[in-house]
Symmetry: C2
Subunit: 201 residues, 2 copies
DNA sequence: ACATTTGCTGACCATTTGGTTAAACTGTTT
DNA sequence: AAACAGTTTAACCAAATGGTCAGCAAATGT
């Protein structure tokens, strides 16, 4: 915002804002330029094309989301503590960036090959460790028998969906934005309880 | 597909297909015309504009999804049976229409006022009945104390998210399309178990 | 058989949009 | 102060895109 921020940075910030709520095809280069308060040509000066600019934004967004998900797979914490922590941290973070999950999943659905590209380039930990952790916990009788995959899906679903489905949920629940925020606030702890309740013996 | 299907119908089918995986702004009228194998002008003959055509597709899609969600709110079944049925029916249906949830939520996020419009026009049952059902069940000691809103969010999250998040999940889980389909198949019953496990005393 | 409505198409148009280019401006080096 | 490199802008451009329109074709009515 200040005069000090470089043009390149201003562009990225503006592009983030526009792409995140209009998507790749809905965004206009002119609109991004206006948002950044610079000339449209400057966009092409720093990023050669719309596609390139978009990729910069997308990768940056994905690299914000994916480390959080990775903590589930790679942290050494106890499974229950892991769930509690993730739920709290993820929801806290997403309340501040509510468009992020929608943006990422949207473009991922439109362009599924992105995933393989991004996941193979970044060091995604893989399921092995998490699978072992669940298998161990089941064997030791700490939790009920559940597949690591399904548990993983459930954890993500319960945490991510409220942000993607917000407009739908607000409609069906007949809640105002404020009331919905309260619901989200409560989920920071309730979701973990819900999951743990379901897997503990 | 056959010669018998009217042009109007062919257009709607083609538009559905294109809009569902490119979104409003990503779809091209020419592309829809090609898909329907008719002249582009005919699109404007039956539907005056891209916007109108899109709205026809969107409403049709929303009217496919919303009755399913309504069953949670309005059916008279026992809460557990309701969850079991919904989980099975919804997932079965979505496996055949995997783009639907993503399409609807995408456009709803871009255009949140759609919800109020659609929900007020259609007879959405409202939360009252469901809230009472939960309150009753809690009082009778059938289930643990949980807010109807949170339970509702959780049910939708666990059922809808796997379809919206499919590319992301496939990436992290390192599963092929086939393996992922198996996971979805298992969810038809496992999700209900998961939820019920979590709310029962 | 003729007229009239209805369905359908090719050619065309105005605007939008991503992208280019040459020139101007700014700060730094010589 | 002149030369130079990096940054920014206005003016343009070609292609794409949503939309129109006059007319053809095929039913439908009389």
């Amino acid at each position: 915002m200040s005069k000090e921020t470089s043009a390149e940075e201003k562009i990225l910030t503006a592009a983030r804002r526009i792409f995140e709520n209009k998507g790749m095809s809905g965004a206009r280069m002119q609109e991004i330029a206006d948002e950044a308060k610079i000339n449209k040509s400057l966009l092409h000066y720093y990023y050669r094309s719309k596609q390139k600019l978009f990729e910069a934004v997308f990768k940056s967004a994905f690299n914000t989301l994916s480390p959080q998900i990775n903590t589930i797979l790679s942290s050494d914490k106890d499974i229950c503590e892991k769930i509690t922590d993730f739920t709290y941290n993820y929801t806290s973070f997403m309340v501040k960036h509510p468009y992020l999950p929608n943006f990422i999943l949207q473009e991922l659905n439109r362009n599924p090959e992105f995933v393989t590209e991004l996941i193979s380039s970044k060091n995604i930990p893989g399921m092995k460790k998490f699978k072992n952790q669940i298998k161990e916990a089941v064997k030791k009788g700490k939790i009920k028998d559940i597949s690591a995959e399904q548990l993983f899906i459930n954890i993500l679903a319960l945490n991510i969906f409220p942000f993607i489905g917000a407009p739908l949920l607000k409609g069906f629940l007949e809640t105002s934005d404020k009331e919905f925020k309260v619901l989200l606030e409560n989920r920071k702890t309730e979701v973990a309880d819900f999951i743990i309740q379901s897997i503990k013996l």
